[in-house]
């Protein structure tokens, strides 16, 4: 009975872990604003976690630089399955204006499976909330499939 209760509540309250993979900070600031009282994603159960080991959703910002690549992958590996990877902004999806630079190892989809892309440069906080809600649905499906 306890197990069922935990499963039910984790599905409703996914915890976020945010990785900055060389972002310009624009997306980082927007992600923070999503969690502050104006947009208040905590209302929907999202909570920023301090460690990848507690997280369900990984939000990646930035074009994945050569320097950050190994750290990003190591961090993502620490997130327990089922996990959902959300890219925020154009950078992790394609490299954006940094595309083709010698310092860029991205896009992220070359290395891990990306579940949700939130496009924009930077995305509007509303779009980020939409993306997180979508990630929650995917997470729920993944959880069901694991049983």
């Amino acid at each position: 009975m306890f197990k069922k209760l935990i499963e039910e509540s984790t599905g409703k309250s996914p915890w976020l872990f945010h990785i900055n993979a060389g972002s310009c900070n624009g997306c980082d600031i927007e992600l923070v604003s999503v969690l502050t009282p104006r947009y208040d994603a905590e209302r929907l159960g999202f909570k920023l976690s301090g460690t990848p080991r507690h997280a369900d959703i990984v939000v990646v910002t930035g074009p994945v630089t050569q320097q950050s690549l190994a750290r990003v992958l190591r961090t993502i590996e620490q997130v327990p399955e089922p996990r959902c990877i959300v890219t925020m902004g154009s950078c992790p999806q394609s490299g954006n204006v940094f595309r083709g630079s010698y310092a860029i190892a991205g896009p992220l989809s070359k290395y891990v499976h990306v579940d949700v892309d939130v496009a924009g440069c930077t995305p509007k906080p509303e779009a980020v909330i939409d993306g997180l809600v979508k990630a929650t649905e995917i997470l729920r499906e993944k959880r069901r499939a694991m049983k």
Binding site: S94, R99, V116, V118, A119, E126, A127, D130, K134
Partner: protein, 409 residues
């Protein structure tokens, strides 16, 4: 005992929430928000300007040859877009639009693709069906019967229109066109505008010595039964000649050379010269070429009824000793070839601002028109190119749009 926040806490309990209740209450983006791109393929002319200016390389195209023309699909990848709207600013035809739709959530890459397909007709020698009202930028041989009474109006899209009755097919417009969009065949008397290449800069109209090109703002021209002035057969059998045995060769720089023994000083060449570079005095039997004015178009040689003007490719002529020595016409005024002084090529600047290469610049003013901050001032008549250092933001747009690559950046 003092409870400092009790009052605040209690009053806040009854206040309205400061949250935007977003997923429950829909939220609209600000009026000028730049969200999802909408592409209008029917307006696109495939000038590629958007692809050139896109900093994120988000715009691509594929083309496919079909019997009717080129089938072009232009794709905008929103996952690589910075939403800077430079493509929209540079699109001269309003084919790119930014909407206020910010819901760009995708689980597949295809969801972030915006694309549109259109058919680009090949530049055929038929009038385009796109603008039936406007006179075609097409060469009609000057057939007075066909052209009589037609009113030629300037086009709405800023592109040039030829007035066949005035055009002398001197090719100056084609030479001056910075985009290489004009093709003028002097022999066939055709004037063809490549609609896709034309950047609507107006250089051709300004260069035309006959005012035979209409640009927006010009008065429409009614074509009367315009008969091209037929070269009047010159009857004056004058026989001046230069010193016996002189070989007159065509010049290397494309400019005309007179053959005094054949020339009858009929002045037709001077009348036909689109640049007004020839001065012929029948009484004094002089033929003078103003080297600086001459555009080397060859109109004079074609107009000459006596074939007394040599152009490159012509056979050299040996002056016979038959005629008495006449006042030697200035076959070659031997003017020092003007504007040939070696100009050292300019170097790009360190501060990210553009530098003009005067040897390449045609002063078409496209750079000034496209400068986002209006830092460039180009005077076509005075041939000046001025950069306002304080305004320039070093964006490099001028170098990108320059059709002659005359701006170093």
């Amino acid at each position: 005992m003092d409870f400092p926040f009790v009052k605040e806490a209690l009053s806040s309990l009854f206040k309205k929430s400061s949250c935007d209740m977003y997923p429950i209450k829909p939220s609209e983006a600000a009026p000028n928000y730049r969200g999802r791109i909408v592409f209008h393929p029917d307006k696109c002319i495939n000038c590629m300007m958007c692809e050139r200016v896109c900093s994120g390389s988000a715009i691509t195209h594929t083309s496919e040859q079909t019997p009717e023309g080129e089938l072009i699909t232009r794709t905008f990848y929103l996952g690589s877009c910075t939403f800077c709207a430079t493509c929209m600013d540079f699109c001269g035809h309003g084919a790119i639009e930014f909407t206020r739709d910010y819901h760009m959530i995708a689980t597949k890459e295809e969801d972030l693709m915006v694309s549109g397909t259109f058919l680009k007709k090949p530049p055929v020698k038929k009038p385009k069906p796109a603008a039936p009202a406007a006179p075609k930028a097409e060469a009609k041989p000057v057939t007075p019967a066909a052209a009589a009474g037609t009113v030629i109006k300037p086009r709405d899209d800023g592109k040039p229109v030829q007035v066949p009755s005035k055009c002398v097919y001197c090719t100056i417009c084609a030479k001056k066109c910075p985009a290489g969009a004009l093709e003028v065949d002097r022999a066939a008397k055709t004037w063809t505008l490549n609609e896709d290449e034309c950047v609507a800069c107006g250089t051709c109209a300004e260069a035309c010595p006959k005012k035979a090109i209409l640009m927006p703002g010009d008065e429409p021209v009614t074509v009367e039964a315009a008969a091209p002035a037929a070269p009047k057969a010159e009857t004056k059998p004058a026989a001046p000649a230069a010193a016996a045995g002189t070989v007159i060769k065509p010049r290397d720089d494309g400019k005309p050379v007179q053959v005094p023994s054949k020339c009858v000083y009929c002045t037709i060449c001077a009348k036909k010269c689109p640049a007004g570079a020839l001065e012929v005095d029948r009484a004094a039997k002089t033929w003078t070429l103003n080297e600086d004015e001459c555009v080397a178009c060859g109109t004079c040689a074609e107009a000459c009824p006596k074939k007394a003007i040599l152009m490159p490719g012509d056979e050299p002529v040996t002056e016979g000793a038959a005629a008495p020595a006449a006042p030697k016409a200035e076959t070659k005024p031997a003017a020092p070839k003007a504007e040939e002084k070696p100009v050292e090529p300019p170097k790009p600047r360190d501060d990210g601002r553009p530098v003009q290469d005067p040897s390449k610049c045609v002063y078409c003013t496209i750079c000034a028109k496209k400068c986002p901050v209006g830092a460039l001032e180009v005077d076509r008549a005075a041939k000046t190119w001025k950069l306002d250092e304080d305004l320039c933001i070093g964006c490099g747009n001028c170098a990108l749009v320059c059709p002659k690559q005359a701006i170093l950046y």
